[in-house]
Amino acid sequence: MRTTVKTIIEKYNNDKTRLMDILMDIQNNFGFISDKFVEVIARETGLSIVDVEQTLTFYHFFSKKPVGEYAVYLNNSVVANMKGRAAVAKAFEEELGCKFGNLCDDGKIGLYNTACIGMSDQEPAAIINDTVFTSLTPLKVKGIVQQMREGKKVTEMIDVIGDGNNSSPLINSMVFNNIRKEGPVLFSEYEVGAAVKKVTEMTPNEVVDEVKSSYLRGRGGAGFPTGLKWEFCRKSEGPRYIHCNADEGEPGTFKERVILTELPKLLFEGMAIAAYALDAKEGIIYLRGEYKYLKNYLEAVLEEMKTANLLGENICGKKGFDFEIRIQFGAGAYVCGEESALIESAEGKRGEPRNRPPFPVQKGYLGMPTVVNNVETICTVVKIINNGADWFSMMGSHESTGTKLISVSGDCDFPGVYAIEWGMRIRDLLEIAGTEDVLAVQIGGPSGVCIGSKEFKRTISFEDIPTGGAITIIGKDRDIIKDVVVNYMDFFIDESCGSCVPCRAITVLMRNKLQKIIDGNGVMNDLDDLVDWGAKMKIANRCGLGQTAANPILTTLENFREKYEALIDKDSDYNTGFDLEKAVADSCAYVDRVPNL
């Protein structure tokens, strides 16, 4: 055992900055990372034991205890719940005779909850040993449990094969792309390698200028102008790095999954173009652990690109244009989608966002200037180089040029990926997605906004309602507070890195206050408190997660206040929610008495 661990560590040159990979390989090999393993890792990499544990215990998919020969991670997102997760979870528990969060069948099968796995268009879904199972039903669960008991390989348990490249032998997955609207940019036809060839005939500054004049803005959510980011990075002395953010963890988002499946060459070519513009020799794709089922396929495509001289040395025959890409897997931490947390994680540390300044373009990966761009952003660059900045900026709205991939899910007939022009009205999108009786639309995932029908005339754009791409449709029959807000708040509580006091503590306090209201103990003052505390969260925290963690409550309080007021007894202005009978239950039990109040 110990030799295997040492071999794994040596594979990464005993390099502490590769701690994520080391932990992941050990986790995959043994199903857990024991104290003994931690000690070996610490000794071999020159870290202290507590430092190794710091990284290990930060990530959802690393475990100090065995997770089972089969580790079932069942998504517990809002959309999963809408699509019947409760029955699926119950089926797993009944078949196995044990509860989620536990090992069943003498340690053979583990049941775990997990945050959105990027399959909102085909929920309920689960990941078992890196293989994705979609559109689950209680009946399917029965079959899966039986096959696990028989010791069948997970890859052989797949009964349906998805469309497009999902059927490639290297992916061989149940996942469907569900591309509903292709649009004129990303899914349009193009010649692989033409853009990278074209840039070798330009100077790096000309490439930056072309991207700048397209007014392309980051597609991850924040919308920072891409060309400007590149220009800032070029101002810092190298070596420089380009990182591709493929950590899409915002519940309800899955468009990157589709790009990675259908357009990986477009992505790698875009990274090569960025590398040329930045004079970067190394790039990293930070890919969420949930998408590990794409690993073999993406690595094969990388090799193919190298063979075609579109990556590697002297790319397209241009002397000195050398660029390599490595895939860095995440291990279940939403906050790593924040660019500086992503860099920390890629360096083998806990994914805690950094203080700014310095910005990543000044001091990023390994202290060097680093550009972090979203998958969709990088892919878009290729099309801009091919077709010109003018072609691109003609599309979209004034402050939001081009098109945007939107992941639509929830209560609609056609969940999937839509390439829309920026500036599209919400109600037009709702129409093509096949919806009726919509109560609310969650735009931009939990960190975004929840709007009601009065706002459906508004547009998806940076100047109106910006989004990284998640649109979750909430039907008339849903209970917006219990079905949506509670789930989103629990998500933020789980995913906070825990560094900033307000994010770590006040998110929990707001969630508790919400529960007090749900339990019928709310007074009007509680709503004022939530607004006040939420306002503080917005200004007091370091990163986007903390600044938006109160949004599920704040935006529903703004747009659906009547739903909260309906839970409140307006005649009462004082209620602590304290239950004396419950509080003394334990002590009464000790002395064999019943509470007598």
Binding site: A42, G46, L47, S48, I49, V50, D51, E53, Q54, T57, F58, A333, R350, N355, R356, P357, I493, D494, E495, S496, C497, G498, S499, C500, V501, P502, R504, A505, I506, T507, V508, L509, N512, D529, W533, K536, I539, A540, N541, R542, T576
Partner: protein, 233 residues
């Protein structure tokens, strides 16, 4: 090199060295900005968020913001007062702080901030969490009930090979501080004292020495925190 940068805090003219952060510069200019996680000379954490100030309408932590020429910093304003008080209160309810029996009472910066900000009853309900105490180290007792997770210890102490003596475990509200069982095995008395002194609260206590200094004669027993810089009116 000796060129100073001019900036203002609440209208008061101040001077800073190039590259200096707003917090250190403020303290040198006789302006008190409250803080909990900052330790002078140690890499900033920016995690307690108490030193949040406003610059051009945006809140930012003074400890992580370098002074820029002509910068106008807002510090002593009602909005920030309430924000800071809320953070202090959040820290009290998130842990279990039993001041009267604490070895650090009077030397505790959280307690002192609560006095300075005149905290009465926290606006948040207490959460009474279950926390584990780690007494396995021979010199230092870790009481996580009183820990504010400021990371001062993480950032301040490394062994001769540069390995951290302290680190976080887990994430979110489950995060906790841990001491390394190998690197911190033979702490000297001096280092143990330093560790206890760096901790702003009573989470890292030197074993058998916690009450060496009698309550009543301690740092904040007579004067409020920060009063050597800006007195409380």
């Amino acid at each position: 090199m000796s060129e100073k940068i001019k900036f203002t805090i609440d209208g008061k003219q101040c001077l800073a060295k190039k590259g200096q952060n707003v917090l250190d510069a403020a303290l040198e200019n006789g302006v008190y900005i409250p803080f909990l996680c900052h330790v002078k000379g140690v890499k900033q954490a920016g995690s307690c968020r108490i030193c949040n100030v406003k610059v051009a309408g945006r809140t930012m932590t003074a400890c992580t913001t370098p002074v820029a020429p002509g910068m106008e910093v807002e510090n002593d304003i009602p909005e920030l007062h309430d924000l800071r008080l809320a953070i202090i209160e959040a820290l009290f309810v998130e842990g279990n702080h039993f001041c009267p029996s604490c070895e650090k009472s009077g030397n505790c910066e959280l307690q002192a901030l609560a006095y300075r900000y005149q905290m009465m009853v926290p606006r948040f309900p207490y959460s009474f969490p279950q926390k584990e105490i780690d007494a396995s180290n021979s010199k230092i007792l870790i009481d996580r009930n009183r820990c504010v997770l400021c990371k001062r210890c993480i950032r301040s102490f490394q062994d001769d090979q540069g390995r951290n003596l302290f680190a976080f475990k887990s994430r979110g509200h489950k995060v906790e501080i841990n001491i390394d069982k190998e690197c911190a095995v033979n702490l000297s008395d001096e280092l143990a004292q330093e560790i206890m002194d760096v901790c702003p609260v009573g989470a890292l206590i030197r074993k058998e020495k916690g009450f060496n200094e009698p309550i009543g004669t301690r740092k904040y027993d007579k004067k409020p925190i920060g009063s050597e810089i800006t007195s409380v009116v």
